[in-house]
Symmetry: C2
Subunit: 278 residues, 2 copies
């Protein structure tokens, strides 16, 4: 119960717009046990059939980068990690139909919603971790990191396209916003081979960050690096599930879509006056 409570604190902070730094101290260690094949140094959560073995972020980057070419971003993140677990642990990873994750490309079937690299990482937490509160905390940590990190960082030794994409802050976990913001900053169109190379390298970055996060979690050393999102926290004070209006929930940065809306124009006093009249 103590651990559950601690994780809930983290999730609650995210719902209010920022997670802050959360350490799972020894009192809140996850209930992890050795997997069936301890020679692989694998461990898994109590009651789970899916084990985890420490993975190398650098190897993961290379795989994700190359897997992108076989099935885009969601497949790149998911397969780069599951393929390594299949080599280290075997079943049930060997039989997992990773090709199904190709559906996440371009924000799900090209529809422009959530970045597929993030959808793939989140699906992995669903596979490897049982408790909802823990999944939520890891997902929030990764998604907040993604919103603020200048991408892409990965520099392959054998590039598929010999082009070093300029870095930019995505500012959003949505595919169409993330790619458009990069294109605007770097000066390339959405269908350019340069934009594709940017997403290929970003896929490597997200896969490595996911592995780093999982390594830390399964070694009882998880510290959330999620940065406090001040904009979202301001909004959620009123709009969040515990706020006066209580009409929305989530952790997405609000500002890319809502800061310039008529109701919230540059957070002028007018908005709050309207609210006060309700």
């Amino acid at each position: 119960m103590e651990r559950r409570k601690a994780i809930k604190l983290a999730a609650g902070a995210v719902a209010a717009g920022g997670a802050g730094a959360i350490t799972l101290t020894s009192a809140f260690k996850p209930k992890i046990q050795p997997a069936d094949k301890p020679q692989n140094l694998a461990c898994k959560e109590e009651g789970s059939n899916w084990a985890y073995a420490r993975l190398d972020p650098e190897e993961t980057k290379k795989r994700a980068y190359n897997d992108y070419s076989k099935g885009s971003c969601m497949f790149g993140v998911f397969n780069s990690i599951v393929s390594q677990l299949a080599e280290k642990i075997g079943e049930p990873f060997s039989s997992f139909p990773t090709q199904m994750m190709k559906y996440g490309h371009g924000g799900i079937g090209g529809y422009g919603t959530v970045c597929g690299a993030l959808n793939g990482a989140a699906a992995l937490t669903g596979l490897l971790i049982k408790e909802k509160e823990v999944q939520n905390a890891l997902i929030a940590d990764l998604f907040l990191w993604y919103e603020k990190k200048p991408f892409p960082q990965f520099k392959p030794t054998k590039p598929i396209l010999d082009f070093t994409p300029p870095v930019s802050v995505a500012g959003s976990v949505l595919c169409h916003a993330s790619t458009t913001n990069w294109g605007k900053s770097a000066g390339y169109t959405i269908k350019s081979k340069e934009r594709k190379e940017r997403c290929r390298r970003l896929t490597a970055d997200v896969a490595a960050q996911t592995v780093d996060m999982l390594n830390r979690y399964f070694e009882n050393n998880f510290v959330s690096h999620a940065q406090d999102n001040e904009t979202a926290r301001t909004c959620m004070t009123c709009h969040g599930s515990e706020g006066k209006l209580g009409n929305t929930s989530g952790g997405m940065d609000c500002s890319p879509c809502h800061e310039e809306s008529l109701g919230h124009k540059l957070f002028s006093g007018a908005h709050y006056k309207i609210m006060d009249k309700r």
Copy 2:
């Protein structure tokens, strides 16, 4: 090649903001073959290990509605369908770790991005259908339907909460927008049991629509009912991958986020004048 071309036409139409009505005529029938267990009347795509058997939308609604209580929206859609295929076909469906799909709740770990019911349906197309263009067309069909359909429609005979939620048009495939719009229209907060019942019934609606779509596809009778999204088409004429600016892609309705932005304020002439000066 002919079929591929036909599906591409559909995908192209969606990229430009609307799919229109697409019929897979006899010339463009999917390459479907009997599965290993023909007694189940199952069929699968050429080269796939995952078969499909015709499912009953009404039975699917009941299962999805009840599964929502075990793992929320993404799990509800995914498990309601895979559990039936496991009963009709057996492996590999029986061994699929459907519990992993719980990660999609609340727009992925509660983060507010894509509606989990849609993420679950899209994941199923990834599992059952091989060709990217076909997946894209089915996903676009479902997502456009979701944006415009008044939800929820399902009326359970044994309701978990004895409350008939008012219907509203989500207007967006994003969880936080869909739920907030419903709450605004119906007068309930995000954390209310009534909002949860709305999402439980919406999960049933999406699962049934997915089954109906898959039934039609595997019986070579798929007609896209995606409505032409005029707003998105207008935007994509310039912004889409084939447009003058070519700086974004996707099929999401643009208006919930961008119609009121400073640059596009109510689509006044000012926006186009700015564009013309570039």
